[in-house]
């Protein structure tokens, strides 16, 4: 230490002490009034960066909650719409079982079918539901395009949407699909034979069959897989049909042209010929079976209702040129309705699962948000008690410095001269 001090320096040191204390007091005062422990990043650089990250997390979480609300609303709407569809289907199923009962008159059947057509329109309308924003629920990504066209009067139905499924982000690593495409739910189904079906055509053909008094009786499908040989016979409801290459048949068999050895016909042509012959016989009153043909498949329908009204025998046992399969239209239709119901229930199950996921994600997000806010508070907020006691100490120090300065000022030799 030096043992001499200039007057100037002595005063300056006193003033410096006061200035220093004032700065401290001022800083603490600002902290207290803002309630923040650091006012600028330089007070706590690491904390400042942490705060930026936390703020981003909080902002993202708020957005995820908003996305979550959107998806919940849409999924709930979808769920309740599909519930309506399910109810309609159950009703139609009841009507089907009731309507195909033999005790109904054709007029009864027509009126039952009328309700079925109404149900069809109802399901169509439900499938074309729009949400609160005017977007179609079941059109995939084509939310401004009506997904299902067709009506109970037109009978043909097309899906005009696409298979898009929109995903919304509801958590840092969690996305949720906020709907299902109409193709998923109402189209792209398969019946028990693996043929494609859609629920509207199912309903339509059911209602149409009922209204047209189609018997609930058996149908027989004959498939002409390969060209039958000359002389092969089949017996349908007591009428024998013989396939002939031009050489003539034994009466009373009915001749069905299968082409000559040099110019054989195709199975499709043979099927056509057979169909023509069957319907001729029906017209002559020799049989009570009607046939329709589709490619190489013949569908035989009995004119009378009831089981056992169709019989078929393949004259040439062991060959596979003609195969048959029987079906009962009503049961076919009921199967199709069940397939559709199953699909709709599947979709409802996934929607339910997604809603559960959303609920739990909501809780997770809220927990995380709370934890983030706590961390933010720890980093940023001032410990008021600590700050106020520091403030008091600093004020005391400032007062002391000021007092000391005044006291020393009065000590000068000049005062004593």
């Amino acid at each position: 230490m030096v043992d001499r001090i200039s007057t100037n320096l002595a005063q300056q040191l006193g003033i410096n002490a006061i200035l220093f204390q004032q700065t401290q007091v001022n800083k603490t005062q600002q902290q207290i009034s803002l309630g923040k422990s650091f006012l600028k990043p330089s007070d706590d650089p690491a904390g400042a960066v942490q705060l930026l990250d936390i703020n981003q997390s909080i902002s993202r979480l708020d957005q995820f909650q908003s996305n979550l609300d959107f998806s919940k609303n849409r999924l709930s709407l979808s769920e309740s719409t599909l519930q309506g569809v399910t109810e309609s289907f159950h009703r139609v199923r009841e009507l089907a079982v009731q309507g195909f009962n033999d005790s109904n008159t054709p007029a009864d059947k027509v009126s039952i079918a009328a309700e079925m057509f109404q149900r069809l329109d109802e399901v169509l309308a439900l499938a074309n539901t729009k949400d609160a924003n005017g977007d179609y629920l079941y059109a995939g990504f084509k939310t401004q395009t009506q997904p299902f066209s067709g009506s109970a009067s037109s009978g043909s139905f097309t899906y005009q949407g696409d298979q898009g499924q929109r995903l919304l982000q509801v958590g840092e690593s969690r996305t949720i699909a906020d709907g299902n495409s109409g193709a998923d739910i109402f189209f792209n189904l398969q019946d028990k034979n693996g043929n494609p079906e859609d629920v509207f055509t199912t309903l339509y053909s059911l209602a149409t069959d009922l209204a047209s008094n189609k018997p609930a009786a058996e149908e027989l499908t004959l498939t002409i897989g390969s060209l039958p040989a000359d002389g092969e016979t089949v017996e349908i409801n007591s009428v024998i049909y013989e396939f002939d290459d031009g050489g003539g048949v034994t009466p009373p068999n009915i001749q069905v042209n299968r082409g000559s050895i040099l110019l054989p016909l195709t199975p499709t042509d043979v099927a056509n010929n057979l169909q023509v012959q069957i319907n001729l016989q029906q017209g002559l009153g020799n049989t009570d079976t009607t046939a329709t043909v589709n490619g190489n498949e013949l569908t035989l329908v009995a004119d009378d209702e009831g089981a056992g009204t169709l019989s078929f025998t393949d004259g040439t046992a062991g060959d596979l040129s003609i195969t048959s399969s029987a079906s009962i239209p009503l049961y076919d239709h009921l199967d199709q309705i069940d397939t559709a119901l199953e699909r709709i229930l599947d979709v409802r199950a996934t929607i339910g699962a997604r809603l559960n996921v959303l609920d739990s994600q909501d809780e997770i997000n809220q927990d995380f948000l709370l934890s983030m806010k706590q961390t933010k508070s720890q980093v940023e907020d001032l410990d008021i008690a600590e700050a106020i006691s520091t403030f008091n100490l600093q004020i005391a120090a400032l007062e002391a410095a000021q007092q000391a300065f005044i006291r020393v000022q009065n000590l000068s030799l000049f005062n004593k001269l």
Partner: protein, 645 residues
Amino acid sequence: MADLLLTGLSGLKAFKSVLNTTSHNIANAQTEGFSRQRVELDSLNPQLGGGGYIGSGVTTTSIDRIYDTFLSTQFRSSSSAASELDTYFNFATQVDSVLANQNVGLSASLQDFFNAVQAVADDPASLPARQVLLSEGGELENRFGTLDHLFNEITSQLNGSLKGNVSDINNLAENIASLNNKIVTAIGMGGGQQPNDMLDQRDLLIDKLSKLVNVNTSPQENGAVNVFIGNGQSLVLGTTHNTLAVQQKGFDVSAVDIVFTQGNNNTVITQFMTGGEVGGTLRFRDEVLDPSINTLGQVATSLAFAVNKQHENGIDLDGQQGQDFFNAPVITPNKLAGTGSLDVVLANTENLTTSDYSLTYDGTTYNLTRLSDNTSFSITNGNTVDGLTFDLSGVANGDSYRIRPTRTAASEFGLTLADPRDIAAALPVISEVAAGNQGTGGINSISIENLSTASLPSPPALSSVTLSYNNLTNGYDITGTGTGAGAQYLGASFVPYDSSIDNGKEYTLNIASFGDVKFTLTGQPNNADSFQLIDNIDGVGDNRNANLLSGLQTSPLLSGGKATLQESYGQIVADVGRRTQSAEANGLAQNGLLMQTIASKESISGVNLDEEAANLVRFQQAYQAASQVVLTSRTIFDTLLGAFR
């Protein structure tokens, strides 16, 4: 007798002189830079007289200032360092406060923008949601603009401060030179006596100078002091002085250099100016301001580039291909010398740095230097270095360029898209699962890259690509119609897929004249199960591109693929915060040191009023005593004269 008188008179003279000096000290007790003066008293040579050598009184040999050169040098160097840190801190703290401010800082605005993207993803067909996104884009433009404006203001402040400092330095130099002149003359006239007050004044001027910049002094034999700054440039040589000036950096109208003017020569000495306010200001510019501007620019460029790139892979509400969302980043090199031209294009953001670059061509090699670490590369036309692709076809021999990829990016950042319908939230390709599929195979997570821009404004038409599963070859056969017919996976028309190992694997199909389509395959398909990729028509509810855009918020777009936009911005905040904090701490420490040197200096040279008061008393007594001697001598003389009457 006469000796008595003379002795007495010598005492009077000497003590008067001391009293004058003491009163001078007292009067100047508060004068800045004043060193207390002391009179050196020496006894006069004795005369040989009866009985021995009789002393003949006192004389003042010199009046010295109590001054320690070593302490003075120490003080100057401490003062220079303290002032440097204080200036640095004052500037840095401004930048610090700006970045922290929630209303001005970039972070909140970035978050709002990406939240608005997600709001569009929630409801892509909603025009209000799209309009909000455009507004947020505009807000981002404002934020970048505000920050850029603030940095510009700090730059002007900085430049003004440097100009002021240089003007002060020149004034001081002039005054020191003129004082040198006066001092040399005064020493000459005084026969070697030091003109203490003028010396004090000159020292004060040099002290003030050292607050502005580091100086070295060299005292000359004739009493003048030469002052050197920077790297040995002579500011004051004897009685002449040179000046400093401020001039614009050639390629950057907003930055200034400090030049040393000697005669007709101007030498740039910016890099040698250390210490003092000038040094602190320049160091702030190099360490805090320029990197902050460049990093902000890097964030702006990367954001614009990445958003545009993703946006252009999508289609908008009218089925048109997405255009630029923000202004496409443009890099304009500054030509420093030569006749040619250089084009630089941004290739990717992952490798983009915050450094500036210089490129020279000497006829044989193109030399590219990264200025942050002075690494040099020798490049050829079309090379990509640090995310920048160089088109050297127009460069001529002798050309020299300065490339600053991120410097002006923040000010040039802007929203280009105006119509909310033009926001490309959808993707141009959608998948369709065939109705008859029996297996559980699925195709998910479709995204597009490098969508062809050949048919703008419409997107390229794909027609269709069909993937059909073949369980004999364990994979999907690729067929297609239209442009889709050109779809290839790794150059072949087959996608191998084994559900036991490839479930969830990502595949990329390259389709010439269309782009690259990425997707993942899942599940176990049955033989002949198929998917189709077709054009997305009327898919206004498609939010896939909006989701991909929102993913940019957490994508590591920067720093070699390690930092997100938010993290890079956070880097500036942390960096500036740390530097400010360290400047504050160092400044406190340095000021403490400075106080100590001042204390030491003051303890030697400072006036202590009590001491001077005591001196007044002492020498007043001595004067009284000496005048008493004169009186006595007169009395003796009178007595002698009286003896002869």
